[in-house]
């Protein structure tokens, strides 16, 4: 998958390139708007990462210009600003996404995956999810582990569904808050941890292989191997 990274801060550009390459993307970089414009028209990119604060122009203007030039690839906007601009909101409604700095790599990757998935529209949604011996029936709102029905609250079901959909990948606290509760907040307290802790008590019963792993400082992973 080809990715164009438009970022002027070399430090950030370097570590992003490394991590994205590791994650399987073919990364090309551009330090400013002009270069990015040329690169985007020449190369067929599947997804773009654009920093809002570019040295020669506003990231938003660049995106709008690229759209006019026929570049259809979805864009993940990186913003170091505090308030989310109305224009960013507009782009978000148009299928693009934004992330404020600093961010967790896991979250960046998850948002990139979402963007490319949205773009390729992989047909009908599955009604059943299966990760190892954990099964979820999304229509009947039931989950079983090794054939044993799990007693989950509706909220816990949504949380587990989110983990299942991202099985094998790291999800951060802020991703969980955004996707499950629908808000971008950073609580001072461990509210998400307690939810995971409770869910783990139900999913990883006695005698079973623990599935929900905590990666401290990063987030959680639902093991799929």
């Amino acid at each position: 998958m080809r990715l164009l990274l438009v970022e002027d801060e070399l430090d950030i550009q370097r570590f992003l390139k490394t991590s994205l390459t590791e994650a399987g993307y073919q990364v090309e970089t551009a330090p400013d708007g002009k270069t990015a414009e040329r690169a985007a028209i020449d190369g067929q990119f599947d997804v773009l990462i654009v920093d809002l604060g570019l040295p020669d122009q506003d990231g938003i203007s660049l995106i709008l210009k690229l759209r006019q030039l026929g570049v259809r690839a979805p864009v993940l906007i990186l913003s170091a600003r505090r308030s989310v601009d109305d224009r960013v909101r507009g782009l978000e409604q148009g299928g693009d996404d934004y992330l404020t700095k600093p961010f967790a790599l896991a979250e960046l990757l998850a948002r990139l995956r979402n963007l490319t998935k949205r773009n390729s529209s992989s047909g009908a949604e599955a009604t059943r999810l299966r990760v190892l011996d954990l099964e979820m029936d999304l229509l009947r709102r039931e989950a079983t582990r090794s054939g044993q029905l799990l007693q989950l609250t509706p909220q816990e079901f949504v949380l587990l569904e989110y983990l299942c959909r991202n099985a094998g990948r790291v999800v951060t606290r802020s991703m969980i808050l955004d996707q499950v509760w629908g808000m971008r907040i950073q609580p001072d307290t461990n509210v998400v941890d307690v939810h995971i802790y409770r869910l783990r008590g139900k999913v990883d019963g006695p005698g079973l292989q623990p599935m929900i792993r905590t990666l401290r400082g990063v987030g959680y992973v639902l093991k799929d191997r």
Partner: protein, 478 residues
Amino acid sequence: MFSKTAKPVMYSAAWRISLWATLAFACGTLLVFVFLHRFVADDIQRRSDAWLSGEVEVLGDVAERTPKDALYDRVVGEVAELAGKEVPNKLLSESSSNDSVFFLQTGSDGSRQLWVGAGDGEPALKAIQAVKIVSDHPTDLHVQGFGVPFRVASIRLDDGSHIYLGLSERDELRVLRSLRLRFFLLWLLIVLFGFSIVFYTTRRMLSHVRRIGEAASGIGHSDLTARVPMTQKHDEISDLALTLNHMLDRIESSMHQLHTITDSLAHDLRSPLTAIRGKLEMSLSTLMQVEQAEPIVSAIEELDRLTDFLNKSLDVAEAKADALRLSPVALDLDELLRIMIDLYEPSMSEKGLQISLQSGGPLTIEADAALIHRMIANLFDNELKHLPPACSVTIRLGIEEDSASLILDDDGPGFDSEMLLHLFERRVRGKDSNGHGLGLAFIDAVARAHGGTVAASNRESGGARITVALPIVSKRSS
């Protein structure tokens, strides 16, 4: 032209100004008319006095020269009657019977000798005897039976007898009355005219001022680009508009500066933070041993706390300057609180706390969703961090006037009475708090940015109460 507001004209400043101006104008013109009247009255008086003095002298002359024979009465009477025909100010339509003039001659003993005029002259004689009439100096004389006084001139003859010539002031008074009537009508006309001119001009002037005021009050916190309307003319009003617009320019530019500073500060700090966090994460993923991960993990956590602190500091700083940028949307507080409680309930019950919501159903307000989310999360975090186990939190959501009211009650130890005064200031925190002391300042900042208020108090039954009021319709949306 006339007010679009419901306020009656009587309460407008234009009305008051015109009233006072008209009053002053009316007094002034009245004074002028009084002087004019005085002058005219004096002049008429002087003229009739001159006539009286002249006539009485002529009559005296005639009376002296005419021999005192049988014809004396007739000759003098004839002359007196002739004189009565030349009365000044006399109206032509006056009836033939001449009662406006009388002629009286008295002997040296004061008895009546000759009388020409209406009636027998007895009342006039009595009146003359009652007052002392000086020769050559006409005097007012009230005669019984006549409504208006007479002006009487007298002359003393050599034989000791007196001649009196009386002229009724009736005609003189009539002239003055008609003059007064005309003056009054003219005065009324001038005053009304003056009032309407003053009212019209001040009204027009003040309507400009009102328009400027309306425009200025409409310039909200999120809309600093608007300007008050300018008038074409170059006068005080346009100066006022110009001054206001200059002031708005300065405010806008300092707001802009503040935003630039906070934005660039945020940007300058966030870029290195992003790089540091990224590198730490990368080294974490390549690590094999768990023991080595610990310092990196805690460094990442510290970084996240630092970021949160940075965000809140800048938000509080902007809100203190009334410069927090909002993008208001419709937000159901009832739904939001239920989701928040759902999120926080496990952590609370883990700590032995209970949380409950009393709400009257959906309550939609116009507010910035991200800021309100963070504000409520802050309120809940606050309770979670500071309440001892086995306490309960009750949240009540309701409408008070045109605000949504959110009341958080707990039955914990309450606030330090010393702290209560400075609760919403930056860097204030309890003795055993491990926060950075921005939580409540941030809550206050968000409420203020929405045109609402936050109040904290200790409940009488023990425990703390935080009351947040948020306007249902955002006052600050542009």
